[in-house]
Symmetry: C2
Subunit: 567 residues, 2 copies
């Protein structure tokens, strides 16, 4: 029996267009005599729909569209489509009003509805906010093959693999006890660095533990801060990958389940990225491309400082949008170095993007004159530094507003963590492209890029980021002779401390014990806590780690603890 | 037996200072021969601690402090203190790692730990993210009185009162079946308009249904966007209020439980606010005061446009911080009307606050000149309007940065909903004071204020907001002759449509059916959807309704549905 994985890129809430994508995949699959079509979790509305779920009209639309889709499917094809179902017992039993469901469409009708059993409520996930868990095992038969249906998290509770349980039940175990021949999993699993390796190791453990083949189907595409990488995969009973869809792209892959052997047969497998840098770069490119497209932008703008952060973002934008759709703006001040211009110009030439140069001195002077009555006799300080950054932010927004560009902000995770960035200045933008990339990783990706290994023609086989940008000491250039290292620990040290605080939730004494200087650790803790108000107002940042600022980072502002002192 | 309600104002994560506040209340209560001291939910860390809960060091600190506190309590006094407890079975049973708990402190030790049973996971609440529900009824005996312990949400599941269940179990019913004499509820229940009436009606229903007295203890104080109003209350078996603490202030109230009668005796009861306007004004004043204090600010700054929004915020700031700690800045442009200055000056005089006037024309011209190479030949439009707003935002931030002011932003909910505001301009600020107050309500509160009924001396018994500000047609004054009504429906109509979309989740056809013009409804829906990117970058806004933008509003940006079209 032939089964197709339709790994497509939905837009959240764009129900009819998502249905069209499912239908196209179904028609293509039917030509290949596919019997069963699999689509990702909540494929009809896209994942995550978030508070759109509170609109009864939204849930109604899904049901209408589902009925329509059932009628339109090619005859002889059964499809599993992700949707949301009302919970009729919610009020009487004190349950949540909806289920995160999969509909089995066949012979022109909705034949069955399966409900997700394990609901993730951690990090960026809020499923308990909306959904009641399903309480039954989900399966159906096709050609006398008994197929177990699981939805994303249902697969992520193997106490042997993780060394602990995260939920009371294990839906896979239940299905195996019910004698299924094949397990399918419809997912919307967001990308983070190295996640595909974890997924495949977990799947391998599952097939080896239960001796049942698994077909894992993932959503692809970026929705705000979340990037879904696709990388759908099938594993046979021996734990071998029999098929893998492309990463970071829509794809349709057909695989055969051999009924007599009770196993999946080898089909086509896309390779995994060779390096972490390649993987992250692809993720960020998809993140920019989809945010722009799904918000209706065809062109992006960004400020180019001659520094490494804006240079890397320019390269990502070029790959995502095409060089002709990227505008880089140089905005030198009297404090800008000669090389900030020459380096940025070299980058612009390397990328072939459009550019403008707008010196900001006149605006600085205007602010100085306006503020003279208040600022006279005070010393140049952070206020004056921020004014420069905010003038640049205003100019970029003015151009973006005037000509319909999406402004990309270029701050990295290390800066965002310690607040080494200006709110309403360089933080301006619709999307913060590398806000989850620590500075040390910004360097690594830039070096990788210069090896000429990027996929797209525009960035292939040559130096992209000028050497001098990679080699010079980083500086905000907001006052004469300013260098990052005068305000912050070296980035190797800073990034390690940040990782311990942000990702590992270590305490100050633990981090000191790991070998860092107490004063440095204390300073970083305080900086992180005090920058919370800035992060709260940051644009969505593309998530590439298991702990990103943004929807999965929920920290009080007016608080003590991380930082014992205020003011 | 005497029982004290310690309604105090914790700072999130400021564990030792919160413990000090509990200790002070305990010592005061002990002098009055109180036997049992009640404190709010999570009183030791403050509610909501949010992702600080992920730090094991944080949970350890709570335990250490709790043991310390138990030793320090006056002899003979038993205290219930809100804290967080690790769940030892989490990994083995697939449960969440923590409980939201109450510790019973007595005789120098932690005698018992009770766990919250119903965990709110909706609106601003994320308790399933952190906590496992308790599975047992919580009670203890003191003087042979059997006291049932419930924590906040445990009380909010009466299917008779609400017409539906929200959780499977009803902890109150369980406790009554176990024969308790008195039910106490330790809460951190955020304020929204009219909520106290709902709480007291619900409590009245509870005591009348079960014939047991209830003591309800609420947190007071504001934490970021959430305002906790206090208003702790005791009801006797007849459903009468026997005591009520002050609203929006710390308070300690002692009430007696008469063992022979099995009921609470009348004690002191603070009155409820006379009007909705008074209530909201008090809430917003507390919101500003606490955000400033808990973030370490003693002075606030805001822009004064001569419009009603900034005028109301100035009045709130004056009541919260004292007139001498408020700086209003006038920033006229060539498009500003004469009355924008005279009205603002009158307001400044009424309030007695400090002020500066900084004309922005010079900066506008500087931007024009810098942008000339790109903008030449284009028409004046939104880009140019935004530049003015952003110049003002920059000036305010420059002064705030230079002198350590907290910048208050002054946009109302109607504007925030439809995006009639400038990101990085008038949206700038650490706190958005009236971001959850619809424009029509801004008028109502301003009129109430002018009746001279405010509590504080500064605002009492005289006109505060100049009549002309209330009576003139609202305008952003970003181009000649501009009026809000040229871009938006009249605010009475807009606010009704917004309420239906935001609070009631109505669909376009439903709203049209209620009598609104289809084109207007469609326009408002589209504006709401398109302004999501602005709201995502807004400062925390003080929540006063049951559906505020902010932590309880989780809407995708790159999506369709509310608005069918993009671009």
């Amino acid at each position: 029996m032939k089964i197709a994985i339709a790994q497509f890129n939905p837009t959240i809430g764009d129900i009819s267009n998502n249905a069209q994508q499912i239908l196209q995949a179904a028609r293509q699959a039917a030509k290949e005599e596919v019997r069963l079509l699999l689509t990702p979790e909540l494929s009809l509305c896209g994942y995550p729909p978030r508070d759109l779920l509170f609109y009864p009209g939204f849930v109604d639309s899904l049901f209408q569209q589902l009925q329509e889709l059932a009628k339109q499917l090619p005859p002889g094809l059964t499809a599993l489509v992700g949707t949301v179902e009302p919970n009729p017992d919610a009020n009487a039993r004190g349950q949540k009003p909806l289920f995160n469901s999969v509909a089995l469409l066949d012979e022109g009708k909705i034949q069955k509805i399966f409900h997700k059993r394990l609901l993730p409520t951690y990090d960026v996930f809020d499923e308990d906010r909306y959904f009641e868990p399903g309480y039954q095992s989900n399966y159906f038969s096709l050609h006398a093959i008994k197929i177990g249906v699981t939805i994303c998290e249902d697969l992520w509770n193997d106490e042997q693999f993780w060394g602990k349980r995260s939920y009371q039940v294990n839906p896979i175990e239940d299905l195996v006890n019910l004698g299924v021949d094949l397990i399918v999993n419809l997912s919307a699993s967001p990308y983070s660095v190295g996640k595909q390796k974890v997924r495949e190791a977990m799947l391998r453990h599952g097939v080896s533990r239960y001796q049942k083949p698994i077909l894992y189907v993932n959503q692809v595409g970026a929705n705000d801060d979340l990037i879904f990488d696709g990388n759908s995969v099938g594993l046979n009973c021996s734990g071998e990958v029999v098929c893998r869809t492309k990463g970071f792209e829509s794809d349709l892959v057909i695989v055969e389940f051999a009924e007599e052997r009770g196993d999946l047969l080898p089909a086509s497998s896309a390779p995994l990225p060779k390096t972490e840098e390649e993987e992250i770069f692809s993720a960020l490119v998809l993140g920019v491309k989809d945010y722009a497209r799904k918000c209706g932008f065809s062109k992006v703008i960004l400020g180019l400082s001659g520094g490494i952060d804006s240079s890397l973002v320019a390269a990502i934008a070029t790959e995502a949008m095409g060089a002709e759709n990227v505008l880089g703006v140089l905005m030198p001040s009297p404090y800008s170095s000669e090389h900030s211009i020459t380096d940025a110009v070299e980058l612009i030439n390397n990328l072939g993007i459009n550019s403008h140069k707008l010196p900001i001195q006149e605006a600085m002077e205007a602010y100085d004159r306006i503020l003279e009555p208040l600022f006279a006799g005070t010393e140049f300080g952070v206020a004056e530094e921020n004014i420069q950054s905010r003038i640049r932010g205003n100019l970029l927004m003015a151009i973006a507003n005037k000509f319909g560009y999406l402004l990309l902000s270029t701050g990295n995770k290390s800066e965002m963590a310690v607040g080494y960035c200006t709110l309403y200045g360089d933080m301006n933008g619709g999307l913060a492209v590398i806000a989850d990339v620590p500075k040390t990783l910004v360097y690594a990706i830039s070096r990788w890029l210069n090896r000429g290994l990027a996929k797209g023609e525009a960035l292939r086989n040559r130096e992209i980021i000028p050497d001098n940008i990679i080699n010079k000491p980083p500086s905000a250039e907001l006052k004469p002779g300013q260098l990052d290292r005068d305000s912050l620990p070296p980035y190797e040290i800073l990034d390690d401390i940040l990782y311990r605080i942000i990702n590992q939730h270590q305490s100050e004494p633990e981090i000191v014990q790991s070998g860092h200087a107490p004063a440095v650790v204390n300073k970083v803790m305080t900086l992180i806590a005090r920058a919370e108000f800035k992060r709260r107002q940051a644009p969505p940042g593309l998530k590439i780690t298991d702990r990103a600022f943004g929807t999965g980072w929920r920290m009080p502002i007016a608080s003590r603890w991380l930082s014992k002192s205020r003011g």
